[in-house]
C-alpha cells in the first residue's frame, strides 16, 4: 500500500480529504497517525505565546523616536491640559491645593527645604515604578484640583480671581519636591526628568513673580 505524501497530509490538516484519501486514512494507521501529529503541530503553533522584547528596547526606541522628531516634549502646563484654560486657573488650582491641607505652607517660608516627611519618606522605599507613580499622582492631584476649582467657579457663576503667586509657588514647590524624589529613584527616566525640568521652570517663574511683588510692596 502506498502512503499519502507528507505534503498531502499537511493539506489535510485544514482542508477536506478527497474520497480516496479518506479511504486510505481509514485503512492506514501510519498515515492517520502522521496526520494527527501534523494537526497537533499546527495547534501548538497557533498557541505560541507572545515574546517580551529585550530589556532596554524602549530606551533605544525612545531615543530613535526623538531623533526622528516623533516625540514632542510638552511643558508642565501643556501636559496638564492647562494651555487653553483661563490665566487664573493655575493659580486657582494652587489655592485649592494649598487649602487642601497637603502641607505646603512650610515651603513658602523655607524655600530650600523639602515639602515635608509626608512626601519624601514613602518615596525612599519605592521602586522605580513606584517613583514614577508618585509623580503621576502628583500630576493627577494638580489636575484634580483644577477640576474641583472649575466646578466651584461654575457654581458661583464664573468670573476671574486675583492671581496669587505665593500660593502658586507653594504648590509648584511641592511638585518639584515630589519630582526630585522620583528622579532620585529613577535617575535615567526621561519622562521623570522632563517633568522635573518643567516643574522647576514653572516654580522659578512663580518665584520671580513673588519677588517682583515684594519689591513693589517696599
Amino acid at each position: 500500500m502506498e502512503h499519502l505524501t507528507i505534503e498531502t497530509l499537511a493539506r489535510l490538516v485544514d482542508e477536506p480529504a478527497r474520497p480516496e484519501e479518506t479511504k486510505h486514512l481509514a485503512l492506514c494507521e501510519a498515515c492517520a497517525s502522521e496526520l494527527a501529529a501534523l494537526r497537533a503541530q499546527t495547534e501548538s503553533l497557533a498557541a505560541l505565546p507572545e515574546i517580551m522584547p529585550p530589556l532596554g528596547d524602549w530606551r533605544v526606541l525612545e531615543a530613535k523616536l526623538r531623533s526622528e522628531g516623533l516625540v514632542r516634549d510638552l511643558g508642565l502646563f501643556q501636559k496638564l491640559g492647562l494651555a487653553r484654560t483661563p490665566s487664573w486657573m493655575p493659580a486657582a488650582a494652587a489655592v485649592v491645593l494649598f487649602l487642601g491641607g497637603t502641607g505646603f505652607g512650610a515651603a513658602i517660608t523655607n524655600r530650600g527645604a523639602p515639602a515635608g516627611p509626608q512626601s519624601t519618606a514613602p518615596l525612599a522605599a519605592l521602586s522605580v515604578e513606584g517613583a514614577a507613580n508618585a509623580v503621576r499622582e502628583a500630576e493627577q492631584e494638580y489636575v484634580s484640583a483644577v477640576s474641583r476649582y472649575r466646578e466651584v467657579m461654575e457654581e458661583q457663576g464664573g468670573g476671574d480671581v486675583t492671581t496669587d503667586p505665593v500660593t502658586r509657588y507653594a504648590a509648584l514647590e511641592h511638585l518639584v519636591s515630589v519630582s526630585q524624589a522620583a528622579v532620585r529613584q529613577a535617575p535615567g527616566d526621561p519622562f521623570l526628568n522632563g517633568f522635573l525640568a518643567s516643574a522647576l521652570a514653572e516654580r522659578d517663574a512663580a518665584a520671580r513673580q513673588v519677588s517682583a511683588n515684594r519689591d513693589n510692596w517696599f
Binding site: H3, L4, T5, I6, E7, T8, L9, A10, R11, V13, C28, A30, C31, S33, E34, A36, A37, L38, A40, Q41, T42, S44, L45, A46, L48, P49, E50, I51, M52, P53, P54, D57, W58, V60, L61, E62, K64, L65, E68, L70, V71, R72, D73, L74, R136, E137, Q140, E141, V143, S144, S147, P190, F191, G194
Partner: protein
C-alpha cells in the same frame, strides 16, 4: 482622586501619541510590544535582527499614527505594519548568510515548564525553516492570516501561499521528529517530547 491615565481610552491614547505625547506612545508600546516583538522575532529568526526590525516597525507605526482612522482595530493595524516592516527589512538585508553561519537562536524559556520546552522546539524549528516557508507558516498557522491576506502581504497568489504552507508544515514535521522522512516512517508519538 480620579485616575486620569487609567481612564484614558485607547482612542485617546492614540490621539495623544499621534500628537507626539511621549507618555501615550510609551503606554501604547507597553501594551503591544510583546505581540509586535513576537511576530517580528519569528519572521526575522534572529534576535539582533528582530530588535532592529522591531524598532523600525514602531517608528513606522508612530509616524503613521495620524493616518489611523479606526476602520480596523488598532492591534490589527499595528500588527500589519509590524509584519510589513519585518518582511521589507528582511528583503533589504543580506541575512541569509548570517543565519547560515549562526546557530539557531535560543529563545528564552522556562526549563521546568513542558509547554515551554515544546515552545522552544517549535521556535528553533521555525528559525531553521527556509525564509519563504517560514513567512507563510508564521502568518498562517501562528498569526491566523488567510491565504488571500498572505498573498497581499507577500505579493504572491493564494495558491502559492497554500503550496508553501504545506511544504512548510511538512518540513517542520521533519525537523521536529528528527528525520526528513515521509508518511509512515514517523507516527504521532514522535510529536511528543
Amino acid at each position: 482622586m480620579t485616575d486620569a491615565s487609567a481612564g484614558q481610552t485607547e482612542r485617546q491614547l492614540i490621539r495623544l501619541a499621534a500628537e507626539g505625547d511621549a507618555r501615550a506612545i510609551r503606554m501604547l508600546y507597553e501594551r503591544y510590544a510583546p505581540r509586535v516583538y513576537a511576530v517580528v522575532r519569528r519572521i526575522a529568526a534572529d534576535d539582533d535582527l528582530a530588535q532592529d526590525y522591531t524598532q523600525e516597525a514602531w517608528i513606522r507605526a508612530i509616524r503613521a499614527l495620524p493616518t489611523f482612522r479606526g476602520d480596523a482595530r488598532f492591534s490589527t493595524w499595528l500588527h500589519r505594519i509590524a509584519v510589513n516592516a519585518a518582511l521589507q527589512s528582511l528583503r533589504k538585508a543580506d541575512t541569509r548568510s548570517k543565519r547560515e553561519e549562526d546557530e539557531a537562536a535560543d529563545v528564552p524559556i522556562d526549563p521546568w515548564n513542558t509547554d515551554s520546552l515544546l515552545q522552544k522546539r517549535l521556535e528553533q524549528a521555525l528559525d531553521t525553516l527556509p525564509e519563504g516557508m517560514r513567512e507563510v507558516l508564521i502568518l498562517h498557522d501562528v498569526e491566523g492570516y488567510t491565504h488571500d491576506e498572505i498573498g497581499d502581504v507577500l505579493g504572491v497568489t493564494s495558491g502559492t501561499s497554500k503550496s508553501q504552507l504545506f511544504k512548510a508544515r511538512a518540513k517542520m514535521r521533519a525537523l521536529l521528529s528528527g528525520v526528513a522522512g515521509t508518511a509512515g516512517e514517523q507516527g504521532a508519538e514522535a510529536w511528543s517530547i
